[in-house]
Amino acid sequence: MIMHNSLDGRVSCNIMQFMEQQMTGPVEKPIIEFRTEPARYRHWRIEIEGPVAHLIMAVDPAGGLVPGYELKLNSYDLGVDIELHDAVQRLRFEHPEVGAVVLRSGREGVFCAGANIRMLGQSSHAHKVNFCKFTNETRLSIEDATAHSGQRYLSAVKGAAAGGGYELALTAAHIMLIDDRKSSVSLPELPLLAVLPGTGGLTRVTDKRQVRRDLADVFCTAEEGVRGKKAVAWRLVDEVIAPSVWDATVAQRAREAAARTDRPTDAQGVKLPWLERKIEGGSITYPHVEVRCDAGLRRAEILVAGPSLPVPGDVATAVALGADFWPLAMARALDDAILHLRTNEAELGLWMLRTRGDAALMLAYDAFLEAHQNHWLMREIRHFIKRVLKRIDVTSRSIVALIEPGSCFAGTLAELAFAADRSAMFVGDRGGEASAMLTVGPANFGAYPMGNGLTRLQTRFLGEAATIERVRASLELPLDAEAAADLGLVTFTYDQTDWDDEIRIMLEERASFSPDSLTGMEANLRFPGPETMETRIFGRLTAWQNWIFQRPNAVGPDGALKRYGSGQQAAFDRQRV
């Protein structure tokens, strides 16, 4: 069966998939939707009191993304996290007046019990990995808001914060735990489920909270966790608060945090309206972004259009444009496209990044953002673009940038070329179109750092400070293929004679390799240089977790995840690997 829905439904975009469905029966996998809005939330509430927002988790047990599990005890699945991600995003854009956000539970007796175990037990490996990636990105976006948006997060932990629940609490700059002699924080994944607290849990305990490693070892193997003063002494939380003064103290801490913000109190927020998206055949169309899926060749082509309207004359005009202001509109579209492809198109293993538009105008937009970078909204937009680019960095797809005549790889959009695993640039003109140009702008020198804390250029030219200076010397100068190759900014250059063949062969070769080894190689090569908490979470913790997620001790028929809740204990293969 092919389902058709004019707006959101998915028309099976290729014949291969169609045939597969015919062969395996009518398995209509529903599309997972990342777009949402508060009116559609089933699991979260946002309550705003002046400069303080309360982000309240009250998960609807019956609101799981797919059947087969109940989201008891404020446990979450991808659907719950999609709402959280949306809420964090909206608080930044729609509520300039909010200077502090309190993460809390709307359920009695539990803060959050973490990722739903039965959901993990029944999910495919790919779904688990993708789910964890997205939750990790959302956790980091909370920390990004505290660090860069003047929106400081606090966790008010009342009831148990277990596993992913404590990992959520850990994202806040300040963790309060009620001292009711019951409420505790814990990371019981290892003793209970034979997996890791993989959504940053281990890494944040050591790197962010700087819990001593032996205490962290004890904490992460104690199913019941730690409560009260010991939780403070071990630095797992910042303070414990007696129940009688709980509400007053939480309110006080939130006011104090809000008072530290540099966000304006009198500004109007920017509404983030429902993102327009049309899925038709193999194409997905957004404002400024188009995706073409080719299941036969197992690849997706992502085309980003640069700005077309002139740069606003002043910041007020840009604010008035709101979600239609090109940098914001483009970032929202690209963000959704990435999430959609990652989750719903797992077999499209190769992404081709293309751009089109006016490079000079692109640079003018960059200059505008930079000139107004202290304006709350322009700041938000730059950080948002930064996060979208980071999503590309951690995407398990081979990414190739194609820099062709008519393209717009300049400034912000040039980051797409630097984010790619390799790039190819067209030499000379093509059918009357002007030659392809690559233009480095100021935005490439610090606006969009990667997870390793370096710019993509610094990462590319690790240990080559002189090269970076050479690149800087050609700031805002359109570089043709020869110049770009000379500076090391592109991988290959081909002229008209070779372009089509070379590109075809490169892409076909890439598509023939093992997807697993490609994922491993790319993730390694993309992050040379220093480690940060963020790279450790994605590169080390996640890699281990994903290994464990494949092992029979966790997911075999007698493994801990499969047996969880049955009352039967897991049977382990005791051999250390």
């Binding site: 002699r181 003793p191 809740g565 009352g567």
Partner: protein, 482 residues
């Protein structure tokens, strides 16, 4: 060495566990002891610490002669560590270790699970003493006052029993937990007891009887399940506690029965035929039958919440591990491992109550609750016999298990005592018909005046048919020293 049957009263702490030879645990318990006495004086029965109470004290743990009765000042009561005698060669009766020798030490892998179970059980014991500490002021007779205190000191002893296990088998964590058992306070905003029902006040004597009938019966069910444990010291402790718990339920059972007896007697004497004529009944200074029903509704439903979620991973784990069995596991004829078995569970699906088969391991809480509800029926039958014999058509009845629930499947719906699901507004409109309201509380409160003359009983309760230790109802069970 004690033979396990007689109790060593030589040391500070009476025991049949060889405490004299176990320096480490004796020292821990002796360190804990002053804190316990302070707690008892602070939070135990208010105003009667100097009075002489005719209490029974255990002198042996064999079923025949384990108790002796005498006047005792409560703070001087011989609290101690008493375990049922060891059964030679006892094996683990259920779960994946079924048939292995019962554990005499805690297996490392179950340490946290066991400790949690013991702490939760332990927490309920002092909690009920705290809940009942004001009741002495309004006791309807010296007989009832003595029964209250007997219940209280035995709950205190049950705390000792759990603390012994914590001290003996759980190292520093156990000592910390034992200390915290003395720090928490029923109903306290900052340091509440662990379970909801144990933070509710016991405001009057009818509540006390209902509590000892319904809530102590939950205690009995939990103890029965733990008495099956593969961890032998826990099993032996619980087996002995059960003999004491039976008396608590007797106090509740007979207490409610005496209230009912008094009410129907007064109605007959006054020629009242309509049991629903509350105003007329209340003029007689007795508790009308509809109010007794409402109290029952309240205490039964609050107690059901103590059984936790119908489908529970913790319960499944505890069973499979051989830690906590089913009610009378030793009398059940099946494979005792429940792998692959199912059990019917009441669930709430789209707002409707339906019965579904669930994996039996996960449904152990539901099963224990079913056993509990069955166990509750016996008293209700007895109480109704009193009403029937008096010639009234009124019948007391347990409400539906979905009524007034805050935990489990039915927490999200509103159902009447008959199990009919309704919307919240309709339920709220009828709540006063089903649960005691402020007016009921005020009326019952007005009856709660102390009666302190031997052989005298308050207007709302009949004397017992027989007293304690073959004494009459007019025996001076408490010599009050203010």
């Amino acid at each position: 060495m004690p033979d396990g049957m007689n109790i060593d009263y030589d040391g500070l702490i009476p025991n049949n566990v060889g405490l004299a030879e176990d320096q480490r645990v004796r020292k821990a318990l002796e360190t804990w002891h002053p804190g316990y006495i302070d707690w008892w004086k602070d939070m135990g029965p208010e105003g009667f610490q100097e009075s002489l109470v005719y209490l029974r004290t255990a002198i042996g743990v064999d079923p025949k002669g384990w108790a002796k009765f005498d006047y005792v000042k409560m703070p001087e009561y011989k609290w101690g560590i008493l375990l049922a005698p060891a059964v030679e060669g006892r094996t683990i009766p259920f779960g994946k270790h079924k048939g292995e020798l019962a554990w005499q030490e805690v297996p490392g892998e179950y340490r946290a699970l066991l400790r949690r179970l013991i702490v939760v059980q332990g927490d309920t014991e002092p909690a009920s003493v705290e809940q009942q500490r004001h009741l002495g002021a309004t006791a309807p007779s010296l007989y009832d006052l003595r029964n209250l205190f007997q219940v209280n000191v035995e709950e205190g002893r049950h705390l000792w029993a759990m603390v012994y296990l914590l001290h003996k088998y759980f190292g520093t964590d156990g000592r910390e937990e034992a200390e915290e058992l003395l720090q928490r306070r029923s109903g306290h905003a900052d340091t509440p007891r662990m379970l909801g029902a144990f933070n509710e006040a016991t405001p009057d004597w009818l509540s006390f009887f209902m509590f000892t009938y319904f809530t102590d019966r939950d205690g009995k069910m939990q103890l029965e399940a733990l008495a099956q444990s593969g961890f032998d010291p826990l099993s032996r402790t619980c087996r002995f506690m059960l003999t004491e718990e039976a008396h608590h339920m007797f106090v509740g059972d007979s207490g409610v029965q005496r209230v009912v007896e008094r009410t129907v007697q007064a109605m007959r004497d006054a020629g009242i035929n309509d049991p629903y004529d509350q105003a007329a009944e209340r003029k007689l200074g007795v508790i009308d039958l509809p109010t007794i029903q409402k109290k029952m509704n309240l205490h039964f439903s609050l107690t059901l919440d103590l059984f936790g979620n119908e489908i529970s991973t913790n319960a499944a784990n505890a069973f499979n591990a051989g830690i906590k069995g089913r009610y009378r596991e030793d009398k059940i004829e099946d494979d005792h491992d429940l792998i692959g078995a199912t059990y019917p569970v009441l669930r709430c699906v789209d707002g409707e109550i339906v019965r579904e088969e669930a994996p039996a391991l996960s449904a152990l809480n539901m099963r224990l609750r079913d056993d509990y509800v069955k166990d509750c029926e016996s008293g209700v039958v007895r109480w109704n016999r009193v009403i029937e014999k008096a010639g009234f058509s009124f019948r007391l009845a347990l409400p539906h298990v979905a009524f007034n629930r805050a935990i489990g499947e039915f927490a999200t719906i509103k159902a009447g005592p008959d199990g009919v699901v309704m919307d919240a507004a309709a339920w709220a409109a009828r709540a006063g018909d089903w649960l005691p309201d402020a007016a009921d509380a005020a009326y019952i409160d007005s009856l709660m005046v102390p009666v302190r003359e031997a052989g005298q009983y308050a207007s709302w309760i009949a004397p017992p048919r027989v007293g304690i230790d073959n004494k009459g109802g007019d025996f001076e069970y408490v010599q009050i020293v203010q």
